[in-house]
Symmetry: C2
Subunit: 104 residues, 2 copies
């Protein structure tokens, strides 16, 4: 029979499973950079390509990962596809990371 501490451990494991999945999604230089861009404004693939100098197929692949993990959503406008951040947790984490690595 599970006791209180086992239940707590299950909850911790569940939280850790979700949290570590998000950390892996962000744990790539290119994905992190492009999420930083998207956290400021909605952008299409070409915009991101130009800003970050990441080649298109590579960019599309990373965007595909973020789509799969439901961290971004897309909107097509003619030939262009616009991306935006779809997960509030991402924005919170990006803010923390900004403080740790980009602020004085």
């Amino acid at each position: 029979m599970p006791d209180t501490s086992d239940l707590q451990l299950d909850k911790m494991r569940d939280a850790a499973s979700q949290a570590s999945a998000l950390l892996r999604s962000l744990g790539n230089q290119d994905r992190l950079l492009l999420l930083c861009q998207l956290s400021q404004e909605e952008l299409c693939v070409g915009d991101i390509e130009e800003r970050l100098g990441i080649h298109q197929p590579s960019l599309s692949q990373q965007l595909g990962v973020l789509r799969r993990d439901r961290l971004v959503t897309t909107r097509r406008e003619g030939k262009r596809v616009y991306y935006q951040v779809a997960d509030a947790k991402v924005l919170t984490l990006l803010q923390t990371l900004y403080q740790l690595y980009c602020a004085e």
Copy 2:
């Protein structure tokens, strides 16, 4: 010749490189769980094993990763090795993750 925006991009890339490395270090369920334990108090391997139910070799391997990435330090006391968190950024991130996944 690099202009201002190139310099900014270099800085961003550097920050993203460091940040994404940290995210990868934390991006594993077992490592995240054991860092959560260590964020509360210094613990030896056996303590962690008992609390989390992770098998010893697996635990030692994950602790080895955290040592390699300089996120924890160790102190030997007789047969036991005590671990503690050595990186303030880890504590900050854990706090944010706690708010996102463990708080109501």
